[in-house]
């Protein structure tokens, strides 16, 4: 469904609104993913769905109904259901009404036709290149190639009509050897950026150079976290920048903004327009998303808001709302960590004794307010001695305050985009002093 079809559908829904205010959100997406393991494809799929979400506000009461049945009868019913649900909601003393917004500009490169049109054979070709590179090293590969396109239109009865079309693609590969593994990843709105041979080779090199991993002792270490590792660590900080967490007191920012929480070399922003993201320029209430400094030179500058939390706290709406109403509050979606001045090789060369870490796994909060998290290393952990990588080491578990880490950090100059199932971050590599490991494994 293209933009014009979505906008026509949203307008039809608004025309059925009747009394009160109505918001219509039309989402159309197609996701394809080819997954491989042991040098062969084992899961291969394509998903296609179009859904509409209707928010009705009647007499200060809000109801929501959602359907993906686009028949005339269903579309009439979804509006009626939203209004009927609203009738059972308590009336809010100061209801958050809808507002009119105009179409913000999408960043360049957000939609790439070659990605939207990629075929199963296109994905299989990239898989074959990736597997080939790993197999040439005598290893087996596991990973995926994905391509997707997504179109979103939001309209409301106050005059908002905004649309965005984007594409995304990704290649994720783990090379598996007898006693060591390696990992590489790449994400881009343009499928042409996925180089199976290059990423397969990189993952294989890590697995080969990490063979016969040595046991090292837990304790405080100097670590260099590659972007995949540092990005996953930092993903556990994003919810702290929500106005809701800030107000509730579960955020580390609860002592207030305009205070230094991190080292002076730390600058974090939320920026949908960063070239490595090229993301959606408005939130799920149709409000334009601001490119926002969250931490500037270590000092907290902003939390992100939506319409509700902007009103609640008397702050500007930064356009970070989820589909409203939301019990979870707003959250940054496009975290960008500013880079430093040194290459990763320089950071390694300046390390007397430390660990280079490719990737983390299963990081979870241990203490939300203190930003203590635990997790494991995986897929390529190497010992550094006298400025040189000397070999692989067995995996370790850490317990670490993220804030403490960001007070003893140095960044590489180059950034890359890393992603997991719940985050999307542009990050450099990070060298951190006194990173706390608490146990080890036998692999």
């Amino acid at each position: 469904m293209d933009r014009f079809e979505r906008e026509a559908l949203a307008t039809r829904l608004l025309n059925a609104a009747g009394e009160g205010q109505l918001e219509a959100l039309v989402h159309d997406e197609a996701v394809a993913l080819t997954r491989f393991t042991q040098n062969a494809i084992h899961q291969n799929l394509a998903e296609r769905d179009t859904s509409v979400r209707v928010r009705a506000i009647v007499d200060g009461r809000t109801g929501v109904a959602v359907t993906n049945d686009l028949s005339d009868a269903s579309l009439r019913a979804v509006v009626e259901r939203a209004r009927a649900v609203a009738a059972f909601a308590p009336r809010e003393d100061e209801p958050q009404g809808l507002v009119a917004n105009s179409q913000p500009a999408a960043p360049p490169g957000a939609f790439v036709a070659a990605t939207a049109d990629a075929s199963p054979a296109d994905r299989a070709r990239i898989v074959a290149e990736t597997i080939g590179a790993v197999a040439r090293a005598g290893l087996w590969a596991a990973g995926y190639v994905t391509t997707s396109r997504s179109g979103l239109t939001i309209a409301n009865s106050r005059g908002t009509l905004v649309s965005f079309d984007g594409t995304d693609s990704g290649l994720n590969v783990k090379a598996n050897g007898p006693d060591a593994t390696g990992f590489a990843e790449r994400y881009s709105s343009d499928v042409a950026a996925l180089d199976g041979n290059a990423l397969g080779t990189l993952a294989a090199q890590k697995a080969v150079s990490g063979a016969q991993p040595a046991a090292v002792e837990p304790g405080p270490w100097t670590v260099i976290l590659e972007p995949a590792a540092f990005g996953e660590l930092l993903s556990h900080l994003t919810e702290h920048f929500s106005a809701q967490a800030f107000d509730e007191g579960s955020s580390f920012l609860c002592d207030g903004l305009d205070r230094a929480y991190m080292g002076p070399n730390v600058t974090l922003a939320d920026d949908f327009a960063h070239p490595l993201f090229a993301g959606r320029p408005f939130d799920f209430e149709g409000y334009p998303t601001r490119q926002l400094p969250l931490i500037a030179s270590g000092v907290a500058r902003h939390v992100v808001t939506d319409a509700t939390w902007a009103t609640e706290l008397g702050l500007p709406n930064t356009g970070h709302g989820r589909p409203a109403p939301s019990a979870s509050g707003p959250e940054p979606e496009h975290l960008v960590v500013s880079g430093g001045e040194k290459t990763v090789d320089q950071l390694i060369a300046e390390t007397e004794h430390g660990l280079l870490i490719t990737r983390f796994w299963y990081i979870r909060s241990v203490d939300q307010r203190k930003t203590i998290v635990t997790g494991m290393t995986r897929d390529g952990t190497f010992e550094i001695r006298d400025g040189r990588l000397v070999g692989g080491v067995r995996n370790l578990r850490f317990n670490q305050s993220i804030l403490d880490a960001l007070n003893h950090v140095e960044f590489s100059s180059t950034q890359s985009r890393t992603a997991g199932y719940s985050y999307n971050i542009v990050s450099p590599a990070a060298k951190i002093q006194n990173f706390h490991f608490t146990s080890t494994t036998d692999f």
Binding site: N39, R48, V85, R123, A142, Q368, N399
Partner: protein, 489 residues
């Protein structure tokens, strides 16, 4: 009633399967789903979510030359069905062209049947106003002290109709009711914030109707939960060291989920999840020989158990549910399997395949996997403990990508001294290695304190699928466990 619901789909399914076969598939199946979900959530006296959603669509699996293709669509028109069936076959062919080995064989079994979740009271018969009022009352009671800065109360009601057809002639209709509810309080002090959730750590989620919400007794427990969150702000830190531990039933459930449920997924053992959620320390060669836990530990699959969140008569590749053992008297004896994975170890599937929705590819999931109850009353678990910790309700969970090295934290704990539960302690954590930990289990409480704990948000696969599973458990005792990790300096 259910059979008549199939009639409108017979011709549609036949068209899709015929199209797949004409395109070259040697086997195909189609799974229609009509999912209705209602979410109500109250936060600090305000109705933060009141949503009523339907999602209708179908997924087609096509088999060609040893490879599967899967395509899903919400477009039920003839053109949509034809295109989706053809796409599934094209995907299978693209995969077969790359495959250096074959993972699959075409199924041959056939079932014609229907099933519905037993329901005492259909949630649809409970007026929406009554559901909202219950949550408003429970959430209000949570805010028992000024320190409770955020109270939440929620209900999830899910009804899913699944219709499965295959080219072997299977025709299966299932209507599933899954229901959940819970409350949580966030208390905030000068330099600390503490969460308490009830029941368990995500609420009580089971198959059934409104009776599951009533069983949760949210309002009756809300004030206590708010007060416990507040008391934790000033409670002493949980001691660190090697101590005996008693885990509440919901935490034992989480321990099963992470260290046995995921570890025993045979697709993970075979490396099918290697790049994402990892592999497993378990190996088919260990069947019947690996002492996974102490002889008190027996863990079994029962995908038809009453109230099990994954209870169905047939899984999402059309295989009939069965009971089977994973750990019997401490020995590893089985895995969670699909048809294709079971074949690799010379076994039959135990119907552990699920897809999180019509648009998701079916894969091996842990489903209903429970620890058999023991033979002592709950209070007797404290007997013989000179110094230990009793922990309840998960707060933090992390385990390595082989499912060995884990660290879990709970919301609340009590120190055990000379066989008695004594003072409240905060931030209790414990860590271990899976087989050593389960071998340190020397007592499990009896069936009186056994609960079928449902997990509504189990993540696995790419694209990520959110599975609904149950790990039934009673409280259990573990000796000489590393406690206090993460806070011990």
């Amino acid at each position: 009633m259910l059979s008549s619901d199939m009639l409108g789909f017979d011709a549609v399914a036949a068209r899709a399967l015929d199209t797949a076969v004409a395109a070259g598939a040697t086997y195909a199946d189609i799974r229609f789903e009509d999912a209705r979900s209602e979410r109500i959530e109250v936060r600090n006296g305000v109705l933060a979510t009141l949503s009523d959603a339907t999602s209708v669509g179908y997924g087609i699996r096509a088999f060609y030359d040893g490879a599967w293709g899967f395509a899903a669509n919400s477009d039920l028109s003839d053109a949509g069905l034809d295109a989706t069936a053809a796409q599934a076959v094209a995907i299978a062919k693209a995969g077969a062209a790359v495959a250096a080995r074959r993972f699959a064989e075409a199924p041959t079994d056939r079932y014609v049947d229907e099933f519905a979740t037993p329901v005492v009271r259909d949630p649809a018969s409970v007026p929406l106003g009554e559901r909202v009022a219950l949550l408003l009352e429970a959430e209000r009671a949570l805010r028992a002290t000024p320190q409770v800065r955020a109270g939440r109360a929620w209900i999830d009601l899910w009804r899913t109709d699944k219709r499965f057809y295959s080219t072997t002639g299977s025709r299966i209709m299932q209507r599933l009711y899954q229901t959940g509810s819970g409350i949580s309080a966030l208390a905030v002090g000068a330099d600390d914030a503490q969460d308490r959730t009830y029941p368990g750590d995500v609420g009580l989620y089971q198959t059934g109707g409104w009776e599951i919400v009533e069983a949760a007794a949210l309002t009756e427990n809300a004030q206590r939960i708010g007060e416990e969150a507040t008391a934790l702000l000033t409670a002493p830190q949980c001691p660190a060291g090697e101590l005996d531990v008693v885990l509440g039933s919901s935490q034992v459930s989480l321990q099963i989920h992470e260290s046995c449920g995921h570890a025993a997924e045979l697709d993970r053992v075979m490396g099918w999840e290697a790049n994402f959620s990892g592999t497993s320390f378990l190996d088919p060669a260990q069947l019947g020989t690996l002492r996974y836990g102490s002889e008190r530990v027996s863990i079994e699959i029962d995908n038809l158990m009453p109230r099990g969140l994954a209870s169905v008569a047939y899984d999402d590749e059309g295989a009939r549910s069965v009971r089977s053992d994973i750990v019997r008297d401490g020995l590893l004896v089985g895995f969670e399997m699909s048809r294709d994975t079971a074949r690799t170890i010379g076994r039959e599937t135990n119907a552990c395949v699920r897809a999180s929705s019509w648009r998701s590819v079916p894969m091996v999931r842990m489903c209903n996997l429970s620890l058999a109850p023991g033979d002592v009353p709950f209070e007797a678990l404290f007997d013989g403990i000179a110094h230990g910790i009793y922990m309840e309700s998960n707060r933090s969970w992390s385990i390595d990508d082989h499912r060995l090295n884990f660290q879990f934290g709970c919301q609340i704990g009590w120190e055990i001294v000379n066989g008695k539960r004594t003072r409240l302690v905060k931030n209790p954590t414990y860590a271990g290695v899976t087989p050593q930990f389960w071998n340190a289990c020397d007592a499990i409480a009896d069936a009186n304190s056994w609960v079928a704990w449902g997990t509504p948000n189990c993540g696995k696969g790419e694209p990520m699928q959110t599975g609904r599973t149950t790990q039934g458990a009673a409280p259990a005792r573990f000796r000489k466990v590393r406690v206090g990790v993460g806070y011990d300096g």
